[in-house]
């Protein structure tokens, strides 16, 4: 706030109990006139009028800061009001012009269109704001990330990108450069500039515009899967949060945590929670599907022990199995079956297999997870006592969206497809056989060296 104008003497006025401005010093009269008031008419500055009338109604002396704004100025006045018979005497003892209420992003208003945009980074060069064109392709989790990482994720590597990153680090003006956005192969013209900040270092801002032509260094690269890789990175995170909220709220209502409700309403709420859980699983599956179908999809090569993975899976699904009175047998801790595969992906495959076994087995049955080393491979099998998979369906079951005619059980028809793709990506295989006694035996084979 700026310093108030020191008034040598108060600016005074008198307001009648019907709101008319009876008398006013020149500055107050001008202010009233600017607000549309006329001499002898109602006081047209609402904040002053209401203060005067309040003082008359209460018959109390008031002393307050009053903010008045019109198209010319923002003012803060310090006003003291003394009620007298049928009128209020106003004394404005300070007349302060407030700085215009400019928000730090006002200069960017024209930048948030479909063809322009901006990314702003804080003093530590972490992404702070994004709008317009520049916000496309960003996930909520990108905010707060290092600016160079974000730009590196959004745009293809090039000399121009390196120059921009260097300019950001040095907090100097940069550009215009033409960069290629990875997800839509869009050419964008970028300029960077430092923004003076209150912290030790300046923040930085990059402005983007659609480029009219592609830069000289550009060659046509990128695959269809690159262009389509939108779901897992951008849409899935955006969908998970509201779905999580729906599940949490529906469970609260269904669980009657805030008191009893009608039984059918509680059942509806549980249905909502189940449907949202299904959607959430589908979102996860679609994200995975997109990932495993990319030509450049790779997995890590961790040294893992399949018995350990099996026991973790059994632990994670113990409650679900108990709901169906199903018992899960896991390999003994002494039986070590090492494998070379990505731990997280192996866990994902095993969770899918054991989940399916629980889902499609009758209540009260048993599931066995067995691991063994055969030649150069590590094998882990999930064996159930369900109906099994007919021989003619044993390949079909691994196809995308294949449900073998089932519906309404919460499956998406993607789990086994994704699991097999993951197994293949890790140099292994996933197959199904008939178990002894008629159930299904799914075997995951992974390299062990």
């Amino acid at each position: 706030m700026s310093a108030p104008s020191k008034l040598l003497r108060p600016i005074c006025g008198e307001v009648a109990s019907d709101g008319r401005l009876l008398r006013a010093d020149e500055a107050l009269a001008r202010l009233n006139q600017r607000a549309g008031g006329v001499e002898g008419g109602l006081l047209a500055v609402p904040a002053l009028a209401s203060l005067a009338l309040l003082s008359i109604r209460l018959q109390m002396q008031l002393s307050r800061a009053v903010r008045v704004a019109d198209d010319a100025e923002n003012l803060e006045l310090w006003v003291e009001v003394q009620p007298e018979a049928g009128l209020a005497k106003l004394a404005i003892i300070s007349w302060q012009i407030l700085p215009p209420a400019v928000r730090s992003n006002d200069i960017m208003v024209d930048m948030s269109s479909a063809e322009t945009g901006m990314l702003r980074f804080d003093a530590a060069l972490r992404l702070l704001r994004a709008n317009g064109l520049a916000a496309q392709g960003l996930a909520p989790t990108d905010f707060g990330r290092s600016g160079s990482e974000v730009l590196g994720t959004l745009f293809e590597d090039s000399i121009e990108l390196e120059a921009l990153l260097e300019a950001m680090t040095d907090r100097i003006l940069a550009g215009p450069f033409v960069l290629i956005r990875k997800f839509d192969r869009q050419y964008m013209e970028v300029t960077g500039r430092p923004l003076p900040g209150t912290d030790a270092a300046d923040s930085y801002e990059c402005r983007f515009e659609l480029a009219a032509a592609k830069p000289a260094f550009v060659t046509e690269t990128g695959s269809v899967s690159d262009q389509a890789a939108l779901f897992g990175k951008h849409l899935a995170p955006a969908l998970r949060q509201p779905l999580g909220r729906i599940i949490a709220n529906a469970e609260t209502i269904g669980g009657e945590l805030q008191g009893p409700i009608r039984e059918n309403y509680a059942l509806y709420a549980r249905d909502i929670a189940n449907a949202a859980r299904h959607l959430s699983a589908l979102v996860d599956d679609l994200g995975d599907l997109e990932a495993v179908e990319r030509a450049d999809f790779k997995t890590a090569r961790d040294q893992i022990e399949l018995g350990d993975v099996a026991r973790r899976v059994a632990g994670l699904l113990a409650l679900k199995a108990a709901d169906h009175s199903i018992r899960i047998h896991t390999p003994a801790e002494s039986d070590k079956v090492p494998a070379i595969a990505e731990f997280r992906r192996t866990l994902q495959i095993m969770l899918n297999l054991v989940n399916n076994a629980i889902r499609y087995s009758p209540d009260g049955t048993e599931i066995w997870i067995q691991s063994e080393t055969v030649g150069g491979f590590a094998l882990v099998s999930v064996i159930d006592q369900g109906a099994g998979v007919p021989i003619e369906d044993r390949e079909k079951i691994f196809e995308k969206f294949e449900r073998l005619g089932r519906s309404g059980d919460g499956g998406s028809g993607l789990g086994l497809y994704i699991s097999r793709r993951l197994a293949l990506a890790m140099g292994g295989e996933l197959s199904v056989f008939e178990a002894e006694g008629g159930g299904a035996r799914f075997t995951l084979r992974l390299p062990n060296s």
Binding site: A3, M60, Q61, S63, F143, T198, R245
Partner: protein
């Protein structure tokens, strides 16, 4: 609790590490599901609010009907039964006093030091108002029987006439001397003598260069600090007090961010005023998220709070 800067850093690091633990997750989820049930007033708060209210009604009654002092005040039961004592603005005022009492013990020294310094200020308005502020503060603390003088004009007016009406009902007749005493009380009231008004007036008259000190409650004291926030963000003084003393530290952190207070200063202020209430989770979130919070977004958020408060206080009014 006294934490030096090094200790603060250590605490914040610990907090940051635990910011994503399961309790935090549960608290966040519950805050979404049960936003209003997370922080019910504690017994201590309810007791403090009741005794403040009792004191105010008792003081007004004594002033209007000095020959008929009773404890509890004779109008208490009738005012309670009529619902007046549960009116939003009265409860809000009383809860702000409870917050004020809790917070002011943490930075009393600053208040005394800075205000005393302002007595010699070159600007006569500031010097005079500083004197008024000190007097109002002394009255608030020491002078028994005048608790009602801290009320806003509208609320005092309403309360006084409610007490007059209740006395009429109790005695079965209009007592002219009570009415005259009520008029006298109201006529003698001057809003400028309230702590809130005096603190706000000082902030109004201060140069921008002097206002930096007001961001540090340890230096400025509670009331001038609150008045600075009130002036900067156009909040009511009591609203700021209640936000600082809220069950979560987030509102105060957002207020400070909206004013553009740098993180180090904000953390000092948070530790001073909310040290014993600051959870490791909150410390972690503030440590990692304060700078990421956009100032405009913080301003937009605080703007919604003022609208929500106006809506709350206007509830049930035509």
């Amino acid at each position: 609790m006294d934490h030096g800067p090094d200790q603060n850093d250590s605490l914040l690091k610990v907090g940051a590490d635990y910011a994503r633990d399961i309790h935090a997750l549960c608290a966040d989820v519950s805050a979404v599901i049960f936003p209003s049930a997370i922080s019910p007033p504690t017994d201590a708060m309810i007791n403090a609010a009741s005794s403040t209210l009792l004191e105010i009604i008792g003081d007004i009654e004594t002033r209007l009907s000095p020959w008929d002092q009773q404890s509890p005040p004779q109008t208490w039961e009738m005012l309670a039964r009529s619902g007046f004592l549960r009116e939003a603005e009265l409860i809000d005022f009383v809860l702000a006093r409870v917050s004020e009492d809790r917070l002011s013990v943490k930075c009393d020294d600053g208040m005394a030091t800075m205000t005393a310094r302002l007595l010699d200020h070159a600007d006569g308005n500031i010097a005079d108002t500083a004197q008024m502020l000190l007097a109002a503060e002394s009255l608030h603390r020491l002078a028994a029987g005048n608790s009602y003088l801290g009320m806003p004009a509208e609320l005092l007016h309403k309360t006084v006439w409610r007490v007059v009406a209740a006395l009429e009902v109790i005695h079965g007749t209009r007592q002219q001397d009570v009415v005259a005493a009520a008029r006298a009380l109201i006529a003698q009231y001057a809003e400028a003598n309230r702590i809130q008004a005096a603190a706000r007036k000082i902030v109004h008259f201060m140069d921008a260069s002097e206002q930096g000190e007001l961001l540090d409650p340890k230096v400025s004291g509670l009331q001038l600090h609150v008045a600075a926030i009130s002036a900067s963000l156009d909040f009511e003084h009591d609203h700021v007090l209640r936000l600082i003393d809220a069950s979560s530290s987030a509102p105060y952190a957002i207020l400070l961010r909206a004013m553009g207070v740098p993180k180090a200063k904000a953390i000092d202020a948070l530790f001073l005023l909310r040290g014993e209430m600051l959870s490791s989770r909150e410390a972690g979130i503030i440590d990692s998220g304060y700078d990421l919070l956009d100032i405009d977004a913080a301003k937009a958020e605080t703007g919604r709070w003022t609208a929500a408060r106006a809506h709350y206080l206007a509830f049930g009014q035509a």
